[in-house]
């Protein structure tokens, strides 16, 4: 009897010990993120200022800023949005609502899973060979945006599928029962109900795209750009221009990489400041995504 009690106590101790170990290992990430933020702030907060955001890169670290980098990031992301979202959502709808169970569907599915696992730098190589060499788009904003578009396409497709899969079949049946066609069902029921999940996926994909460095380096983005792309708004008819598509560019992570790689201590302060800005953008976008997911989950109950 005593033996059994000891045994139980022993097992319980292990159980508690493991629970603590589990909690700690879950918190490892949290500790790392905290250390990372503190480190960045201690190194880079002194450089953060209005002039840092409105200055071009410079040989003098105190004068250098990230104006051309964040404008570049913004424009590249704009191209990415228009390239990836329509195709991604359409592909997701096809696979969930239309696709028959056959080998083509299976093959497409396997292919998307594989694409999601292809290292981002391989997309960069694709872009050099395809967009720069064959299509002659140059080392431009358009090339950068399309590259990132390809990169986040699998994420958009998977988010769309997951979100559509959560809609119960009875919704579709109810729609068909009123005489709606397949597309009408998708357009008026499936898409609106799955929009929350799709939006969440898109924002998370874009937050990935904004921090992506490797493929953009391969594409040949410059690190020292002391001018801005052509303005998308013009004063003559038709009041907008797409000349900026073809302009050379740099993005915030590349600017940061460039500063990290320099031996001078002063440039590493700039790198930390650029890192803070990247982190703030990433956290903000992820926060929005989590909020949207939460809101939609609360609103829709089947």
């Amino acid at each position: 009897m005593n033996d059994l009690k000891q045994r139980i106590a022993y097992n319980k101790r292990w159980d508690t010990a493991f629970m603590i170990a589990g909690l700690l290992s879950t918190l490892v990430g949290f500790f790392l993120l905290t250390a990372l933020m503190i480190d960045l702030f201690m190194d880079g907060a002194e450089r953060l200022s209005y002039t840092f955001l409105t200055s071009f890169p410079s040989r003098f670290p105190e004068k250098a800023g990230i104006l051309s980098a964040w404008v570049g990031s913004f424009l590249v992301l704009l191209v990415t949005v228009f390239a990836a979202i329509p195709i991604g959502i359409a592909a997701g709808i096809y696979l969930e609502e239309y696709a028959r169970k056959n080998w083509i569907t299976n093959f497409i599915e396997l292919n998307i899973v594989n694409l999601a696992g292809v290292p981002s730098i391989v997309y960069g190589l694709l872009a050099v060979g395809m967009f720069v060499q064959i299509m002659k788009l140059g080392e431009s904003i358009l090339t950068g945006g399309l590259t990132l578009g390809l990169l986040i396409l699998p994420m958009v497709i998977m988010a769309t599928r997951e979100s559509i899969r959560a809609i119960p079949t009875m919704i579709r049946e109810a729609s068909y029962a009123t005489g709606a066609t397949k597309w009408q069902t998708v357009r008026w029921h499936i898409l609106p109900y799955s929009m929350g999940g799709i939006l969440t996926g898109i924002i998370i994909g874009l937050s990935r795209a904004i921090g992506e460095t490797a493929p953009i380096i391969t594409v040949g983005a410059l690190t020292f750009i002391a001018f801005l792309p052509t303005s998308p708004i013009s004063y003559e008819f038709p009041f907008f221009s797409v000349k900026w598509f073809m302009d050379p560019f740099t993005v915030v992570p590349i600017q940061m990489f460039n500063w990290v790689s320099r031996p001078q201590q002063a440039f590493q302060v700039n790198a930390a400041a650029a890192g803070i800005i990247l982190m703030v953008m990433t956290l903000l976008m992820n926060g929005i995504a989590i909020y949207i997911r939460y809101r939609f989950r609360k609103r829709i109950k089947w």
């Binding site: 159980d15 493991f18 629970m19 589990g22 290992s25 879950t26 490892v28 990430g29 949290f30 993120l33 990372l36 480190d39 960045l40 190194d43 359409a90 592909a91 709808i93 096809y94 696979l95 696709a99 093959f107 497409i108 292919n111 594989n114 694409l115 696992g117 292809v118 290292p119 730098i121 391989v122 190589l125 694709l126 060979g129 395809m130 396409l153 497709i157 066609t181 397949k182 597309w183 937050s207 921090g211 460095t213 490797a214 380096i217 391969t218 040949g220 992570p253 940061m256 990489f257 990290v260 790689s261 790198a271 930390a272 890192g275 990247l278 982190m279 990433t282 956290l283 992820n286 989590i290």
Partner: protein, 299 residues
């Protein structure tokens, strides 16, 4: 009659839309084929000038020297070394995290901890690189005086923490797929949660957990910026984590940063490195997909 016409036009419209959606789905296949095509085309040019045998057996990689040597092994070694370090960190932590979140954590704690964990995968990798080079390496140097400023260890550890969310979320899905009766059966025998997790859940969810590990490995192989910043730039045929190494990915970045003219052999080397990388990750991705499909069918 009018109604009949309307029906036909509606049918055409439906067909057109389905076609359009199908083309969008097929576009992903076009991307894969283009990747393969471009990599194969440029590496074909590479292998026209360098023998395949030299590529896989030579132990030096100095394509930019006047007497160039084209042995991919040092880059593959660098990649494997950083990957092994990352995986050593990520697998145990990821698995324990998954067990904690799925079996122990109260609902509310889960709701908060999971998004925080997912943030780890969202931080830009260039920031991790900065952190590995300027924060972790100096700290590690306090304990390991032999550690050089650029090394495989520090970026490996950071990469490992970075891929925890990939490992833990897939393992968690796998364990959630184990039916409740199996757990209840174990509890009814008087087993603790700890015993249930290790003796019942892990064996039952094994293929899913294996898939999680493989996805983690594939991520680590393809990771670029952390190693490009913190691991150094010399191709180094070594298994010593304290020395600087260059990975396949870091090599591509290093060459792309310079101004290498298109069409030269130096330019083609990045595609040769790229195709090596592509096939390494492709193998792991397909294996992972297959294992994950098996968990869905298991119960």
């Amino acid at each position: 009659m009018a109604q009949f016409q309307r029906k036909t036009s509606q049918k055409i419209r439906e067909g057109l839309i389905e076609g359009l959606l199908f083309v969008s789905a097929l576009f992903s296949v076009v991307i894969t084929l283009s990747i393969l095509g471009i990599l194969a085309y440029e590496s074909y040019g590479f292998f026209a000038e360098v023998s395949f045998w030299e590529f896989i057996t030579e132990r030096t990689w100095t394509p930019l020297f006047s007497n160039p040597k084209f042995g991919i092994l040092p880059l593959v070694m660098g990649t494997l070394l950083t990957t092994v370090i990352a995986v050593t960190v990520a697998l145990p932590l990821g698995l324990v995290t998954a067990i904690y979140l799925s079996e122990y954590a109260p609902h509310r704690a889960r709701e908060i901890l999971k998004p925080v964990l997912e943030l780890l995968a969202a931080v830009p990798t260039v920031v991790y690189g900065y952190f590995a080079l300027l924060f972790l390496t100096p700290i590690l140097q306090m304990f390991i005086p032999d550690l050089s400023g650029f090394n495989a260890l520090s970026p490996g550890i950071i990469m490992g923490i970075m891929i925890i969310p990939y490992v833990s979320s897939v393992s968690e899905d796998a364990m959630a797929a184990v039916p409740m009766q199996i757990r209840e059966g174990s509890y009814a025998m008087g087993a603790t949660k700890f015993q249930t997790a290790f003796k019942v859940l892990i064996p039952a969810a094994f293929s899913g957990i294996a898939a999680a590990f493989i996805i983690g490995i594939s991520r680590a192989i393809g990771e670029t910026m952390v190693v490009a910043i913190a691991a150094g730039g010399q191709p180094n045929f070594t298994v010593n984590p304290l020395e600087p190494v260059q990975t396949l990915t870091a090599y591509i970045v290093a060459v792309s940063l310079g101004d290498v003219p298109f069409g030269t052999i130096e330019y083609k080397t990045i595609f040769a490195a790229g195709i090596t990388l592509f096939f390494m990750t492709l193998g792991f991705n397909i294996l992972g997909f297959w294992l994950r499909k098996r968990i869905r069918e298991a119960y």
